[in-house]
Symmetry: C2
Subunit: 419 residues, 2 copies
């Protein structure tokens, strides 16, 4: 093993993780460990209409925590959502003894993380100033209010990360507010909450998690610890026990959790595996960065309004192909590919990075087909004219983790070939 200790490292993760089917009933006790008043950010009207939200809020009251609804959000958060939520928290004099409870997908959790951070700072600036790329805006220096995150989509992993992705329409951007202090303090994962997630969102968020696991494993900023975590996640998300291999019928993919959950939302083992894989993807990426698929996905969100997970899924095969040839990422790529293929690897001859890498890409492509995810950018609304802007806005923090430098020309060519 390469030692993680020779050059030093930094590692951030939630302080406490509670995982289990039906364990949402423990929300009250966990909230009480963080404060006496909980500002609730909810991401799903379904949770509200099915009474699950009410049940969770009652568990808070039973534990002596007063819940207050702070925001309901059903799309990726914009600057205005965060500023509005912070303004409400300030009106309520939120501070020591209070927490934010986020129940939903990445949108709700990111909104709560950003609001919890901003309300604790001296500056009364808009989030826009914090995201100012010139870097001379206000900074997060005070400890944010603690966040209790209850993810419901089994996908984004936001419950394990230190950033909140925020969009803006004018000017159009998608940026991260980021601080080591923004990792949710406590994470309560009840995979049963994800049974009502519709099939398309299940597929997209599931592929987001798988993309995050792969990209954090091969990232140039990955460490042995983040690789271990990503590999565990891949083993859960793409379990090795399926008999699939090159040339075998793709019907066996039905055993892969994200496919199983796509076809049957109530499948407990599938929802559990994806909830755990998503958490691991968040913890891994928070400490290793990502790569090309996520870099381009951000730009596809800004310019073409493509949902984040769908954008990641569409870009993943191309990103893997672009990185397969990188010399110094070979060992990491091989590790990720072997984790993805599991026992399927045994059917391959010869056992070279070339055959194993190609089989891993083939597996991902078969998965996308099974999940009815298109392969071409034109099918998700991208036009040739948008490509220069997409290339320009792909250069965020995610792209900087990609194992290989990609010139604008090369990225343009890759995207044009995908039209």
């Amino acid at each position: 093993m390469t030692s993680p200790v020779s050059t030093g490292y930094d590692f951030s993760a939630p302080s406490r993780i509670v995982f289990g089917w039906g364990r949402r009933r423990e929300a009250g006790g966990l909230a009480r460990s963080l404060g006496r008043r909980a500002f609730v950010v909810c991401g799903s009207r379904t949770l509200d209409s099915t009474g699950k939200l009410a049940e969770i809020l009652q568990s808070l009251r039973d534990a002596g925590v007063e819940p207050m609804r702070a925001a309901m959000i059903s799309s990726e958060p914009h600057v205005e959502h965060v500023d509005g939520c912070v303004s409400f928290l300030r009106q309520q004099k939120a501070g020591f003894g209070d927490l934010l409870l986020a129940i939903g997908g990445g949108s709700a959790i990111d909104l709560a993380k950003a609001a919890a951070a901003l309300v604790a700072q001296q500056s009364k600036s808009s989030l826009r100033d914090y995201l100012d790329s010139a870097g001379d805006g206000p900074k997060i220096s005070n400890m944010p209010l603690p966040v209790l995150a209850m993810p419901t989509t089994g996908g984004t992993g936001s419950e394990g990360t230190k950033n909140a992705v925020i969009s803006s329409r004018d000017p159009p951007f998608k940026k991260s507010l980021r601080s080591e202090m923004m990792v949710p303090r406590v994470v309560l994962i009840d995979p049963e909450l994800s049974v009502s997630v519709p099939p398309n969102v299940t597929a997209w968020t599931g592929m987001d998690a798988i993309t995050q696991l792969i990209e954090s494993c091969i990232s140039r900023r990955s460490t042995p610890a983040t690789q271990d975590i990503a590999v565990r996640g891949l083993e859960l998300a793409l379990p090795p026990r399926t008999a699939w291999g090159t040339g075998l019928p793709p019907g066996d993919l039905a055993l892969v959790p994200v496919v199983s959950a796509f076809h049957d939302g109530s499948s407990r083992p599938a929802r559990e595996a994806m909830a755990q894989a998503a958490l691991l993807s968040g913890i891994a990426l928070a400490n290793s960065g990502l790569g090309m698929a996520h870099g381009v996905a951000a730009a596809l969100g800004i310019h073409c309004n493509v949902p984040h997970g769908l954008a990641c899924a569409v870009m993943l095969p191309a990103a893997l192909r672009a990185n397969l040839a990188v010399k110094n990422a070979g060992a990491q790529f091989l590790r990720a590919a072997i984790a993805m293929l599991g026992d399927r690897k045994m059917r391959l001859e010869p056992h070279s990075i070339k055959t194993i890498g190609a089989a891993a890409i083939e597996l991902i492509e078969a998965l996308l087909e099974e999940l009815k995810i298109p392969r071409r950018l034109s099918e998700i609304g991208v036009t040739r004219e948008q490509i220069p802007a997409i290339v320009r806005d792909s250069r965020g923090n995610s792209m900087s983790g990609n194992p290989r430098e990609l010139s604008d020309d090369e990225l343009t060519r890759i995207l044009e070939d995908m039209l």
Copy 2:
């Protein structure tokens, strides 16, 4: 892989880990992320006399954090130490915006964790009431003040655990104050701080870490995640590259980090490996529990005043022998033994749990000899008359993780054989 998700799990760990030789200079920025006033608990006069403590406190002032000395402790903490520290914190009106900075071994970190927890509770009771075994004393329900832990011994792993071990003389006991909320929020590990730890403490605390890694790996409460962490720790603490094997000269043990640090305290790779192994041992044990060696070690501390790490080391071979035969712990025991033996395993025929387990025990015994740690209880001051009391007080939380139930009779026989 057995999935950790089928039955649910709980996992606690520090929010943020910063690891690296010389990184103590970052203490100020990390403290600032937790508050504006830091109550300092220091465990080593050497750090003070060599100016290292002053250097750390200056980095706090430079970052806008006011350091205040709260306690200096050079032995395992007693109830009175904690009560005294809490009383000082109350005088200073410690609360929101304050943190505790613990610099030292397990004693200093445990004292800081206990004081940080107690000062945040409504009850003004003595720690003694919290530790009341009847269970009707006050409880930790409010979030403790945040703790920034800077371990210096590369041994106890207290920086990664949720308990504080506290002793009492009258009545004599050694008990844990325990809460999921007591895990230090931020851990800053600068292995350079451990170069001044004397050889005997290096050996004892190092063997404490190794015992924790093995016992948490084979504990009946272990999970795939805690086993992964423990195995990584064992690979660091007993690296597989040494050529040692059954019948080979023990001289090769010089390459084992704890031996290397014992002979040359300034060895950077040895101090780094042990610092990381100790952290991993703490995170693993906090989420898996321990076993017989730690159960008996607590009692040896109470009745015979044996330093904790030394007691663990002396008990480890007997604990491994007692557990080697357990049927349902076989897979875990094998995993731990293989991690301990590394490449040495290849020299063994046949590859059965019996040969591999025996070789792992032989390795530990050779290690103890190299570290000048006695094998017999009489050599550390235990008398036959004390054995009934030791057996009685071995039944704490640690023993409940042991893979095998041990009757009082059997434990008595084991201890008598070791006299």
